[in-house]
Symmetry: C2
Subunit: 139 residues, 2 copies
């Protein structure tokens, strides 16, 4: 089913450092640390800051709890970071990065996205990183 | 002697949230997380980002390992954050925030600062936070 993908988180942190970002995994546990919203990973390169909620699934559809998304959005808004949902489907080697607006809502007001939708709407890691270069030229 | 002040870290995280910053404690442990430099706390408010190395001591002088400072500076430089050493002396209720340039070096190229120097050179929490307002008006 769905689970926190610690192996995926480590891989993403490594790729972010290689791409010139200082990145940190934020463990979910830790006494006294659960009272505030937080993402799974945050990173910055002095110009651009991003926060990630990371999920992996063996299925073709991923359901995401609304509180996970709310926590990501609240943290990112205050901190000053672009919020992304990073999804790894077992059957695909890529991690896809979704903006929250590109997710679909369920009847219970949680979120979902299928593999096909993730491919269509999501960014690959290279697309995500190259976006920062585009932003620079737009200034 | 000197120790990682987890209680101080929690208190600082709480004060930062109260001051309008999204703040996160970065546990030192965690498999696969020790290969990259990292601070004890990072925070941001969309305009200003800060990284803290946190220490506490029962003595009147604090010695800081050069690798702790190097890690803080390297992370902050890449991430895009102001680096601070946050020190809590047992005999004083305040936490003092020191810029790395205000620390003194030892013969072994580590760092040190006395309680008197920390009071003289360091910022209190309110001074640290109000600095962001000054920066805004200077733009």
């Amino acid at each position: 089913m769905t689970s926190k993908g610690i192996d995926i988180e480590r891989k993403l942190v490594r790729k972010l450092w290689e791409a010139g970002y200082a990145a940190i995994r934020v463990p979910a546990s830790g006494a006294g640390s659960s009272e505030y919203p937080k993402p799974d990973i945050i990173c910055g390169n002095g110009k651009r800051y991003m926060a990630f909620e990371v999920k992996k699934t063996k299925k073709d559809i991923l359901y995401i709890n609304k509180y996970d998304i709310k926590s990501l959005l609240m943290f990112s808004e205050i901190f000053g970071a672009e919020p992304y949902l990073a999804i790894k489907f077992s059957k695909d080697k890529f991690i896809y990065f979704l903006k929250i607006n590109d997710l679909f809502t369920t009847k219970s007001e949680n979120y979902k996205i299928t593999y096909e939708q993730a491919i269509q709407k999501g960014l690959t890691f290279n697309m995500l990183i190259n976006n920062s270069i585009k932003l620079e030229f737009n200034w």
